[in-house]
């Protein structure tokens, strides 16, 4: 380590962890000392800040006070997709965030959610927005949720929707409910990071590492192992409180574990030529 300031930062971390006295800067030259002092001050100042918190708007803070209406209204600024990516990046390090055309995609294992930006102050699911959401589900059947993000809201208020939340066209209301509130049964609109965290809490699959349980080395029966894993995973996922098509799919796969195991064994056969799409479609049709 060549920069003496690095050692000071690490020593300060030791101090803040309670394992060392506060470091001094006396041994540093004037330039390094000033640089180190700024970093030390910064670290001490930053403790306690919530990096993802958004303070309430001035309008909200001053509502119902003598100052309500005295402060000029902040011109609403439309968020862009980069802002959505930023907001989602810090939600959970397990998830993968990427841009896909006009949506931001959050992926974790087989969970996929798309976030759609609309130019509105609230994430109202009007007729046109409903059509856009339905189009996203239709274009990518693996999408579990679509989040409608109000791009003009300061905290990127988001309404998450599952495919089953969208009524068929002939029953679709133009606006969901009085006061712009969605009907009961929908998720509450939340700031984007909170909506994403809630999504993960509710929908993120939990696939713990599989313990082979091999006491001593012995030939591995891949087909048996695949069948066992398929049985456990499908059973566990079918028991989770999924809603909509995902729940239907896992319930339908109950009893199809051996087909999955056979496919794994086939793929594992040396020289096998397997059309995975066709085989998976066959299993899905059998399940349906």
């Amino acid at each position: 380590m060549t920069d003496p300031v690095d050692a000071v930062i690490l020593a300060l971390l030791d101090h803040l962890d309670g394992s060392a006295p506060r470091p001094t800067l006396d041994h540093l030259g004037p330039g390094d000392r000033a640089r180190a002092q700024m970093l030390v001050d910064g670290l001490v100042t930053a403790r306690g800040l919530d990096p993802w918190a958004a303070r309430p708007s001035l309008e909200r803070l001053l509502a119902d006070t003598p100052f309500a209406g005295l402060v000029d209204h902040e011109p609403a600024v439309m968020a862009d997709l980069a802002a959505l990516v930023q907001a989602l990046r810090g939600v959970d390090e397990r998830v993968w965030i990427e841009l896909d055309a006009d949506t931001v995609v959050l992926s974790y294992l087989d969970l996929r959610a798309r976030f759609l930006l609309v130019e509105a102050a609230e994430p109202r699911v009007s007729g046109p927005v409903r059509a856009q959401v339905r189009a996203r589900f239709a274009a990518d059947p693996d999408t579990s949720r679509v989040g409608v993000v109000a791009g003009l809201s300061p905290d990127l208020t988001t309404q998450l929707l599952a495919p089953d939340d969208l009524a068929p066209d002939d029953r679709a209301p133009t606006v969901t409910a009085p006061h712009g509130r969605p009907h009961l049964g929908w998720e509450l609109p939340l700031p984007l990071p909170l909506a994403a965290r809630r999504l993960l809490e509710q929908c993120a699959p939990q696939w713990p590492a599989f313990d082979l349980g091999l006491v001593q080395p012995e030939p591995l029966d891949l087909a048996m192992l695949a069948g066992d894993i398929a049985h456990r995973v499908i059973g566990r996922e079918a028991g989770r409180p999924y809603r909509g098509r995902k729940r239907q799919a896992y319930l339908a796969l109950l009893g199809q574990e051996q087909a999955v195991a056979d496919l794994v064994a086939l793929v594992g056969t040396r020289g096998a030529q397997v059309d995975l799409d066709r085989e998976l479609t066959r299993i899905a049709r059998a399940a349906a």
Partner: protein, 227 residues
């Protein structure tokens, strides 16, 4: 503090929304720091005993600031704002922890109570200077913005965990699967790169760093601003 009816005078902060926004951001950061600098509780649980939140304290502090008679101002509005925010945050802590302190060996059920004892230590209250506090907080808001914009998810986990949440390197190492030494080195690299970028940011107030020339902007320094 003198309380007067709000519309009785033209408040300079009310007339300058951008400045009021900056001041309010700094007050919010100051309040979070006092309330949560040593709590290490989950962010979602950051509500004081009794239900008061940082946003409630911020509202109280902002109204107090706007009610302050400009004719009696002895310092900058920025320094006054930081002082009010800090005072209101400590008052909220006292309200939340009144009658709830246990014995020396008895853990308190309110995590945030620990802030009462330690906030003064990290502040080094004897020479606490509201103008410096405003400047440092403004610097940290720039650093935070850059960290949100530039760091990857994994880098954010390390930087945010150490810099804001006070997590130990050992805890992060276990979570991420690196050694504590690697976590420390990553933090050092990240914090230095963020400061290097911040020095080029026009919103980053000067300070004592001699290398901060390109980022220095007297307009953002409370001492360089008209009262």
């Amino acid at each position: 503090m003198t309380r007067t009816a709000a519309p009785a005078y033209a408040h300079p902060l009310v007339a300058d929304r951008a400045r009021l926004g900056r001041v309010t951001d700094t007050m919010a950061a100051q309040i979070h720091r006092v309330l949560h600098s040593s709590g290490r509780q989950a962010r979602s649980e950051r509500v004081l005993h009794g239900g008061e939140s940082a946003d409630d304290v911020l509202q109280e502090a902002l109204i107090a600031l706007l009610e302050y008679d400009p004719a009696k101002l002895q310092t900058t509005w920025e320094a006054l704002a930081v002082g009010i925010a800090r005072k209101k945050a400590f008052a909220a802590l006292r309200r939340a922890t009144r009658g709830r302190r246990g014995g020396p060996d008895e853990p308190d059920s309110v995590t945030v109570v620990r802030g009462v004892e330690t906030a003064d230590l990290v502040d080094e209250s004897a020479d606490w200077d509201p103008e410096r506090a405003f400047e440092r907080t403004q610097q940290q808001l720039v650093i935070l913005r850059l960290a949100r914009e530039r760091l990857s998810g994994r880098e954010q986990r390390v930087f945010f965990g150490i810099h804001y949440d006070g997590l130990t390197r050992a805890a992060l190492a276990e979570e991420i699967g690196l050694t504590p030494q690697a976590i420390g080195q990553m933090y050092v690299r990240l914090v230095k790169s963020l400061y290097a970028a911040a020095r080029l940011d026009p919103a980053f107030p000067g300070g004592t760093d001699p290398e901060s020339g390109p980022g220095r902007d007297p307009g953002n320094h409370p001492k360089g601003r008209a009262r």
